[in-house]
């Protein structure tokens, strides 16, 4: 759906985007992670046809966004990292205005606007002035705005920034619904655990370069070469530790909160072997679970800038 090839954006001597390559499959949610100033917004603005690159190529559904920006805009819904709302318009008028700016016919855009307001749970606010809405509502309205022309690719720049947990959860639920509707979503955020939860794939960008790209699990394995499992045993903690340390795939064992956090290389097959060793040695294992990807840790390792804002 989205292909970015060798994208470069320079401002004088400063390289904002440095030979960036990425691909997003149709129907996927792709998380774009990076510290502030890494080039996320620049890349997204280039894809959204708002900024010309120094070099490189971006295609959306096979359409070159620089050669045919108007055609590409039909496919793209862009939501910047700020609200961008007219305070003297009502909610319905706001959506109607953008619908008309995208050339959607009057009846069609009224119908779509009604549906979108339902999707973002703002149906009861359609006659309210935009400036009377709460921050979370405005954010949801902006999400509805970028869907008014029924785009296939959504570019969402920090959609959850500054939101309270409830508003974040609402946005997350809407994104999941959009994925179910078949939309392809490119989303940037610095709230890493959330990205791991909703994204199919993730790309980590640092100093304009895409350092790593893949599914959350793939990135975990590729970057650290380890799987982390948490094991809880009833007793014989010391014997369990010595048994685990004997196993060749185990790279580290840490005792934490009456549980063992075990780092190991290898596949899930190796995990099964590990469990079998413990059980066959009569270690009373009551819990054995693979940890969710600690993306934040990987992010820190990859970007290696201690002062970055997370």
């Amino acid at each position: 759906m989205l292909v970015v090839r060798d994208l470069v954006k320079k401002y004088g001597n400063f390289i904002a985007v440095d030979h960036l390559n990425m691909e997003v499959e149709r129907g996927q949610i792709f998380g774009f992670i990076g510290p502030n100033g890494a080039g996320k917004t620049t890349t997204m603005k280039i894809i959204a046809t708002l900024l010309a690159p120094t070099s490189g190529r971006v295609t959306v559904d096979g359409i070159d966004v620089f050669k045919e920006p108007i055609k590409a805009r039909e496919k793209i819904g862009y939501m910047p990292d700020f609200f961008g709302v007219y305070d003297n318009l009502k909610v319905m008028e706001y959506l109607d205005f953008y619908g008309s700016a995208y050339g959607v016919e009057y009846r069609e855009r009224r119908r779509i606007a009604e549906e979108l307001l339902e999707l973002v749970d703002l149906s009861d606010k359609k006659d309210a002035y935009v400036d009377t809405l709460s921050r979370g509502m405005k954010q949801r309205l902006c999400l509805a705005r970028c869907l008014i022309h029924n785009p296939e690719l959504l570019i969402l720049d920090e959609p959850a920034s500054g939101m309270d947990p409830r508003a974040r959860a609402e946005i997350k639920a809407i994104l999941k619904e959009l994925k179910r509707m078949g939309k392809t979503i490119l989303i940037s955020s610095h709230i890493l655990p959330e990205m791991a939860e909703i994204c199919d794939s993730v790309g980590i960008i640092d100093r304009g370069r895409l350092v790593v790209q893949g599914s959350v699990e793939q990135i975990m394995q590729r970057m650290t070469g380890r799987i982390v499992v948490r094991i809880r045993v009833l007793r014989d903690m010391d014997r369990a530790i010595s048994l685990l340390k004997e196993q060749p795939m185990v790279t580290g064992v840490v005792e934490e909160d009456q549980e063992l956090e075990v780092a190991c290389n290898g596949s899930e097959e190796d995990l099964w072997q590990l469990l079998r060793v413990l059980v066959s040695s009569d270690v009373p294992v009551v819990s054995f679970r693979q940890m969710e990807g600690n993306l934040e840790q990987i992010f820190m390792e990859v970007t290696s800038d201690e002062e970055m804002a997370l």
Binding site: D6, K45, A48, T49, L50, L51, A52, P53, T54, S55, G56, R57, F66, P69, I70, R73, E74, I76, Y78, P80, F82, F83, G84, V85, Y86, D87, N88, L89, E93, F97, Y98, S100, A101, Y102, G103, R145
Partner: protein
């Protein structure tokens, strides 16, 4: 409405501009100012001239006063209406959202300009009853008023384009508004002083002037066009009436030659309108160029 005629920015701006009490209050205040000054003028003129002047003379004076007053108000109001249209979109962070729709930068600029001009047109139309007072006295034909209003619209178009250009050029509305007013001041006053200075230099080199000289800078001053138009309507038929008045006021020699070429043969107000419209079109094109996202397209591959 046909789709190619439909401008979403214009439609939305018209709707929001006329919403609430502000637009009605603005029209009321505008007419109130004009009416107040016209009343004072009437009082003075009716007392001092009615007995000795003909009705036509009073009618003409009232017309000139209203025409100049309305012109000054248009010059004051138009920059305020236009100098923030794009910069305020930037300030509200909605410009990017507009630019990534299917609307072209040109249609965004035109939509913004037309919505401002529509408001100025509303003010002009609402002043028609006030102007109709002139017909009580006679001396001015309806077509004179129509011509005057046409000149107002051209002036508003030119001044509005200046405001729009600055609102594209400067990020902050305050800066673009101030610079717009400075430019209008330059066009209205400094250009006259500069023009007269050029004329005095021109004629000081020729002891017995016989050529027809209009400094180019006069063509960009809408006030000079208005003066020319009003002098014509008042019955001063010299082709360079305003120039003659200036020459008399500032003590420079009076050119007695004939206009050279088709452009100089045009009435000054028409030549002035053509030049101002041309500059306005150039400014609108420049504004369009400046806001389009790909203006710095420097792809190497």
């Amino acid at each position: 409405m046909k789709r190619w005629l439909y401008n979403p920015v214009l439609a939305s701006s018209l709707k929001t501009r006329m919403r609430g009490w502000r637009a009605a209050a603005a029209v009321t205040a505008y007419l109130g100012v004009m009416l107040f000054i016209a009343y004072i003028f009437f009082q003075i003129n009716l007392q001092s001239y009615m007995s000795i002047s003909s009705g036509r003379s009073v009618g003409l004076r009232v017309y000139l006063m209203l025409a100049i007053l309305q012109f000054a108000l248009i010059l004051l109001i138009t920059p305020a209406q236009t100098a923030g249209v794009i910069s305020s979109e930037r300030e509200m962070q909605t410009l990017d959202l507009l630019l990534c729709t299917k609307m072209s930068p040109f249609s965004i600029i035109i939509g913004k300009l037309l919505s401002s001009l529509a408001f100025i047109l509303l003010l002009i139309i609402s002043s028609i009853p006030l102007f109709s007072l002139v017909f009580l006295f006679g001396g001015i034909a309806p077509e004179d008023i129509a011509m005057l209003f046409l000149f107002y619209i051209i002036t508003a178009f030119a001044v509005g384009s200046i405001g729009i250009f600055y609102s594209v050029l400067f990020k902050r509305t305050v800066v673009s508004t101030v610079v717009s007013y400075i430019t209008i001041f330059f066009l209205g006053i400094v250009s006259v002083i500069l023009g007269v200075y050029l004329m005095s230099i021109h004629y000081s080199q020729i002891p017995r002037p016989s050529d027809y000289y209009v400094p180019l800078i006069f063509y960009i001053n809408p006030a000079i066009g208005l003066s020319d138009l009003l002098f014509r309507q008042a019955g001063v038929t010299a082709p360079n009436a305003y120039y003659g008045i200036l020459a008399w006021l500032f003590g420079v020699g009076l050119g007695s030659g004939s206009p050279q070429g088709w452009f100089q043969s045009l009435p000054l107000w028409i030549a002035n309108s053509v030049v101002m419209s041309g500059i306005a079109v150039l400014l609108l094109c420049a504004s369009t160029w400046l806001i389009r996202p790909y203006k710095r397209l420097g792809r190497k591959s």
